[in-house]
Symmetry: C2
Subunit: 238 residues, 2 copies
């Protein structure tokens, strides 16, 4: 039986051997929720960057540019890290490529590329992620982006939710991290939004922008779409 493990921080990734495995990169607030939303809104592909400058330079190649630092949209970019940037119609996004850089999410993604397959997870596309991992049938690791390297609750809860969906076909008890995430998910599931609002970190992010990002990002199974890594970019899996 393949196993599902959870890595709580990119800083711990060197302890995990991703070779031959599926990596599910998650940054619920808000990078991976926004990536799912962007591809669903007709963005053709997304190229992640670690550095602001390299990301901004992609504008010259016709890309939309999206950048977030410490929860705020960075200056000189078309978009921030809000999923509503792809939904509000202010900027036409259909048919465009997007170059993106965020505090935590793009780092987690770059560090996960040793895996056989790298996909992007959010509550929005939880069912699609579970289906893909089940179909692959190999060991999987949820890579939590965390917050500047630290453990965070929302990414962990995604790991617990995925473990619950896969528990019949995957070993979800051999890793203490997966066990803990499942237990936390059991507590949170009846009211995910209220549970997460206990977190000072979540409340801080929530206050940064006067919009509905948080309530949007904690919805389950709204998007039947799986962003997958192919040749240096994220595209919607066929």
């Amino acid at each position: 039986m393949p196993s599902l493990d959870i890595c709580f921080s990119p800083e711990l990734l060197p302890l995990y051997d991703l070779r031959g495995k599926v990596a599910v990169v998650v940054d619920i607030l808000r990078a991976t929720s926004s990536i799912v939303t962007a591809l669903a809104a007709g963005v053709t592909h997304i190229v992640p960057f670690s550095e602001l400058e390299a990301c901004r330079a992609m504008a010259a190649q016709g890309y939309l540019t999206a950048a977030e630092r410490d929860g705020q949209q960075a200056e000189g970019f078309d978009l921030g890290n809000s999923p509503f940037g792809y939904l509000d119609g202010v900027l036409p996004v259909r048919g465009r490529g997007v170059a993106i850089t965020t505090t935590n999410g793009t780092r987690a993604l770059h560090l996960s590329l040793a895996a056989d397959a790298v996909v992007v997870g959010a509550f929005l596309n939880l069912a699609a992620v579970a289906q893909f991992v089940r179909q692959q049938g190999k060991d999987a690791v949820v890579v939590c982006a965390g917050w500047k390297g630290m453990f965070n609750l929302e990414d962990t809860l995604f790991g617990g939710a995925l473990a619950q969906r896969l528990e019949a076909e995957f070993d979800t008890t051999s890793s203490d991290a997966t066990l803990a995430a499942r237990h936390l998910w059991q507590q949170a599931q009846p009211d995910l939004s209220t549970y997460l609002l206990q977190s000072a970190h979540v409340r801080r992010l929530n206050n940064l922008e006067a919009n509905k990002d948080f309530e949007y990002c904690v919805q389950l199974d709204t998007h039947d779409l799986l962003p997958i890594w192919r040749e240096g970019r994220l595209i919607a899996n066929a």
Copy 2:
């Protein structure tokens, strides 16, 4: 109000600034439980080593030597990592110093020395730890030894238990790690032993020695004793 934070792995310690804070080092199974037990049994002081050779060499200076690697007593040492080594009367320990090296615990200890005060925590001396942290009245960080750098359940639950004891006087909600540990402790508390035996890692350790180490280490508040770091060694706090 001072804060209580929890660091789930020594690998994450570079993200925490321990200066001016109290560090509570915890390795429930079994290093810190054994250290509490040893000092209670009359061991005068304990010197931790990272390397087997340096630890073994202390025999020449009259020290008892204790070493564990991957859960087993290392060859050529007086003691392993079992608290019963200090209790079974086979080896007289009263009045002796002990040189110790373990897979996870001594590493966590060495990495914590930037803190203002470094103490050793276990379920056995939870009340003594809580009292000390309360008296110090400054920010505190629980440093979980983990298992080879990875998250483990038993050290995390100690952090949750300490947070519960201190929640009236300390901020235990600003850190997602502390929040998660408190929630897990709430689930585990009614039957800590059964809860921990879900963990494959705990069961593996539990099977390594045909003794009662596990049941011993999950007892609460049995020892009113606080190991504290003073001039390169752990002694019982006066």
